[in-house]
C-alpha cells in the first residue's frame, strides 16, 4: 500500500491518498501517517480511498485509531497486545459527535466493508475530494 499526504489549510486538514490493499500487514502505516499529521497540527483527516482495492478489518482499526489521534487521544500500540485493543471501548451516553475522519470515493469492495461494520454511518463518506473538503471546512 502506498500513502501520499497533502497538507491543506496550514496543516489543519491533511488528505491521505491510499493506493493498493490495506490489511493486517500494513495498517500501522496508516496509523503512523495519521499520527504524523496530528503531531503537525492536523485536526481533520480526509482519506481518499479511490485507489484502495481491498480493506481488511485491520483497516477499520486504523480508521478508528486515526479518529482518536485527530482528537488528541493516543490509541494503544499493537506491541501492547491485541487484548489492549479489544479492551478499549466503554459506555457512552453523549450523542455521537462528527468524527474528524472523512472518507472519499471508496471502491465497492471497501464500501461493503464499511457498511457491514457500521462505520459508513460513523465516518462521513463523500463521492469526491472537493465535496469532502467543502464539508470539512463547513464543519459538516
Amino acid at each position: 500500500m502506498e500513502i501520499a499526504a497533502e497538507r491543506l489549510d496550514d496543516g489543519a486538514v491533511v488528505v491521505l491518498t491510499l493506493q493498493g490493499e490495506l490489511d493486517a500487514s500494513n495498517f500501522e502505516q496508516l496509523i503512523d501517517a495519521a499520527r504524523e499529521a496530528a503531531n503537525e497540527g492536523a485536526r481533520s483527516l480526509v482519506l481518499d480511498l479511490a485507489g484502495l482495492s481491498y480493506m481488511g478489518s485491520s483497516g477499520l482499526v486504523a480508521l478508528h485509531s486515526a479518529a482518536m489521534l485527530m482528537r488528541g487521544e493516543e490509541p494503544p500500540s499493537v506491541e501492547s497486545g491485541w487484548s489492549a485493543f479489544h479492551q478499549l471501548g466503554h459506555e457512552v451516553n453523549a450523542p455521537p459527535e462528527r468524527e474528524p475522519v472523512t472518507l472519499v470515493s471508496p471502491t465497492p469492495a471497501v464500501s461493503r466493508v464499511l457498511d457491514r461494520s457500521g462505520l459508513s454511518r460513523i465516518f462521513p463518506v463523500h463521492a469526491d475530494r472537493d465535496a469532502a473538503l467543502g464539508a470539512v471546512r463547513d464543519g459538516r
Partner: protein
C-alpha cells in the same frame, strides 16, 4: 471440482498471496465478482486471526483449501497452532458509536456475515480446522458474456 490448496508460512506479509489464490480460484470456478470479494475477505480475516491469535508470532504454517461446487464454495483453513475457535467470538455491536466500540474485533464478524456457515474443530493430531461455506444459489449465471454479477 478438485479442491485447490495453498500453504503459507504464518506471516502477515503472506496475506496478499492468500487473497490472490482465493480470488483466482473462485473466479476460475465462475463465482460472481461480489462472491469472489466476499470469499477473499472471509479468508483474509480468518487467516489473519490464525496468525495473530493462533500462532501469536510463533512460526508455523496455514493451509487454505477451496472446493468449488455448483451450489457452494467450501473453504477449509488448517493450522497447527494452539486451539483458537473463532465461532466463540462474540458478535460486535455494529450500531454503536465509535467511542463505545472496541478497537478491532470485527474480523470474525465479517467472516461470519460474508459466509453462510462457519465451523471449527480441533484436528485429531492437534491444530485447528475452520470450515467456511458460502452458498452460491442464484449467484451463478449461465452466460459467459463477462457480466457475472
Amino acid at each position: 471440482m478438485t479442491p485447490r490448496a495453498l500453504s503459507i508460512s504464518a506471516q502477515l506479509d503472506r496475506l496478499a498471496s492468500v487473497r490472490g489464490f482465493v480470488r483466482e480460484t473462485a473466479a476460475d470456478a465462475g463465482c460472481s465478482d461480489e462472491v469472489v470479494d466476499d470469499l477473499v475477505q472471509a479468508v483474509d480475516e480468518s487467516v489473519t486471526n490464525v496468525i495473530e491469535h493462533g500462532y501469536m508470532g510463533r512460526p508455523g504454517n496455514v493451509e487454505v483449501e477451496l472446493e468449488c461446487a455448483p451450489e457452494r464454495v467450501t473453504i477449509r483453513i488448517r493450522d497447527t497452532a494452539p486451539p483458537f475457535d473463532p465461532t466463540e467470538v462474540p458478535t460486535p455491536d455494529t450500531t454503536a458509536p465509535l467511542a463505545a466500540r472496541r478497537l478491532g474485533g470485527m474480523g470474525v464478524h465479517l467472516a461470519r456475515v460474508l459466509t453462510d456457515e462457519m465451523r471449527h474443530r480441533i484436528l485429531p493430531g492437534g491444530g485447528n480446522e475452520l470450515t467456511l461455506i458460502k452458498a452460491l444459489e442464484g449467484t451463478r449465471g449461465g452466460s459467459d458474456d463477462g457480466d457475472r454479477r
